[in-house]
């Protein structure tokens, strides 16, 4: 197994600041803006994004967190669902512009589940998607509005995002199994 670091702590910080600017520009400010992070790693990213937005604008948007475990499409079919944790969105999302935040966009199934989960909390005027990494291989017609970094990957690889709040350090890694030699 080999690890390749694609983003370090400074790059992650700069990427988040750029994403914050893009979100402000797209939304023409912070009016009606709510950031909702997917558990586990989307949530600390949403908190950081909100802080950055608060730095550039007068107002820091509210941040919620969403557990999508109950909305997955494979619950009764396969694989171990992670532990379910309480979701929390501190404000009404009716009529709001909700930006879903996640660390890695891959098949799009998590985002599909997140949209289902979100709709159970209210009816946002619009839903946007911000991700730190887009690694490709979509299985659903879902595309991100704000992308930190596009990282083309092979299906056998995986992308590990480390965030200081959960992992003690910041970094984005591509993990490759030892290739069956060509």
């Amino acid at each position: 197994m080999s690890f390749e670091r694609l983003l370090g702590p400074d790059e992650i910080t700069r990427t988040i600041r750029r994403l914050a600017h893009e979100i402000i520009e797209n939304n023409s400010g912070t009016g009606g803006l709510v950031l909702v992070g997917l558990l586990s790693r989307g949530y600390p990213l949403a908190v950081r994004l909100a802080a950055a937005i608060g730095e550039f604008e007068a107002e820091r948007p509210p941040v919620g967190r969403l557990d999508i475990g109950l909305y997955r499409d494979d619950v009764t079919q396969r694989s171990a669902p992670a532990m379910i944790r309480p979701s929390e969105i501190p404000v009404s999302i009716d009529g709001a512009t909700v930006v879903l935040v996640d660390d890695v966009l891959f098949t799009g199934r998590s985002i599909r589940a997140a949209m289902d989960a979100l709709i159970d909390f209210g009816r946002p005027a619009r839903v946007r998607l911000a991700v730190l990494v887009d690694r490709g291989h979509r299985e659903l017609p879902i595309r991100p509005d704000f992308v930190g970094k596009n990282i083309p990957t092979a299906l056998v690889q995986s992308v590990d995002v480390h965030l200081a709040e959960l992992d003690g350090d910041d970094g984005v890694y591509v993990v490759s199994q030892e290739a069956a030699h060509a």
Binding site: P44, L70, V75, P86
Partner: protein, 327 residues
């Protein structure tokens, strides 16, 4: 950088998984499994607090409630829990089913499996009946109360309710008063409470106490006493059990009046416990017998909350057991 509040809620250290096919009692649960149930129940509690407290997670799954004994809250609670997760629910009672024609428990459970039941929630008057059923079916069996033996979902919802009020149970004193000997609630509670590190005092007339349990427990501890006033000293939680009126006829208590004098949880006695002590009861209550009405509905009472929390805890168990089946 901003702190991420409540890091527990987003912790990724979730190697915890549910493995067991059935839930028959709490004595086989590890502290980690109990933790998994309680954490999942917190998430379910949040779902129930939404305007539409329902998700579709278990759509396609069939839950059968098979009740050989009467029940209001347990059966209704399981039905609401299963429906809140999107499962289909079939309710069977002994009366009106083929049980009346003499169908055996094993045949009944096999029939339910053949119909497509994924989970059978079962209540039976005979201790151990769910164990027998579980051995003869690949469906998951959840014990909804068997004889005088066990009532695991009640114990878990009790622990969930306690934790929401007092936090960790480590070192907390819990007094369970009443007909402990015949109480499946007390028995199942004892295992979860001791696993949580609480010190449990079982209290009641000598004829209604399981004296063999005294001094048990590796982590928490269990005491047995007939002196209720003494037991209440330093108590953080007091749980009164229903006194079954049949006990009087069987000679185990001299009279209800005598019982009330010695063991009713009332305002005077509650004063002995720690200030703000929680008052609990698994229901159904005999108000004026084991518990005074003003206490049952007083400030420290979480009796109705126990019922509400029961739905969240049963959702958690149905979710964990059903998803474990898929693995």
């Amino acid at each position: 950088m901003l702190e991420v509040s409540n890091s527990d809620a987003i912790s990724t250290a979730t190697n915890l998984q549910w493995h067991a096919k059935d839930l028959l009692d709490t004595d086989t649960l590890t502290p980690e499994e109990i933790e998994l149930v309680l954490t999942t129940a917190e998430a379910m509690h949040e779902v129930r607090s939404r305007p539409v407290g329902k998700v579709a997670t278990l759509r396609g799954a069939t839950v059968v409630t098979l009740f050989y004994e009467q029940s209001t809250r347990t059966r209704a609670s399981f039905e609401v829990a299963a429906k809140a997760l999107g499962a289909d629910v079939v309710n069977l009672t002994a009366s009106g089913s083929s049980v009346e024609k003499g169908e055996s428990l094993i045949d009944t459970i096999r029939t339910l499996e053949a119909i497509g039941a994924d989970v059978v929630v079962m209540r039976h008057g005979k201790s151990g009946a769910p164990y027998l059923a579980a051995r003869h079916t690949s469906a998951s069996v959840i014990n909804g109360g068997d004889g005088t033996h066990a009532h695991p979902t009640q114990a878990l919802l009790d622990l969930f309710t306690m934790r929401r009020h007092v936090g960790s149970l480590e070192g907390k004193k819990v007094v369970i008063v009443g007909d402990v000997l015949h109480s499946r609630v007390a028995r199942s509670n004892l295992w979860t409470l001791m696993a949580a590190g609480a010190s449990v005092t079982l209290c009641g007339p000598a004829t209604l106490l399981p004296h063999t349990l005294a001094g048990q427990g590796e982590h928490g501890r269990c005491d047995v006493t007939t002196n209720f006033d003494k037991a209440l000293e330093g108590a953080d939680i007091v749980m009164a059990l229903r006194i079954q009126k049949e006990r009087q006829n069987s000679g185990l208590i001299p009279s209800l009046r005598e019982y009330i004098r010695g063991y009713q949880l009332n305002a005077r006695r509650l004063q002995i416990a720690n200030p703000g002590a929680l008052v609990m009861h698994p229901g159904p209550m005999n108000e004026g017998i084991e518990i005074a009405p003003d206490i049952a509905h007083g400030l420290g009472s979480v009796i109705e909350e126990q019922v509400t929390n029961g739905v969240a805890v049963r959702m958690a168990l149905l979710y964990l057991i059903t998803t474990a089946r898929a693995r």
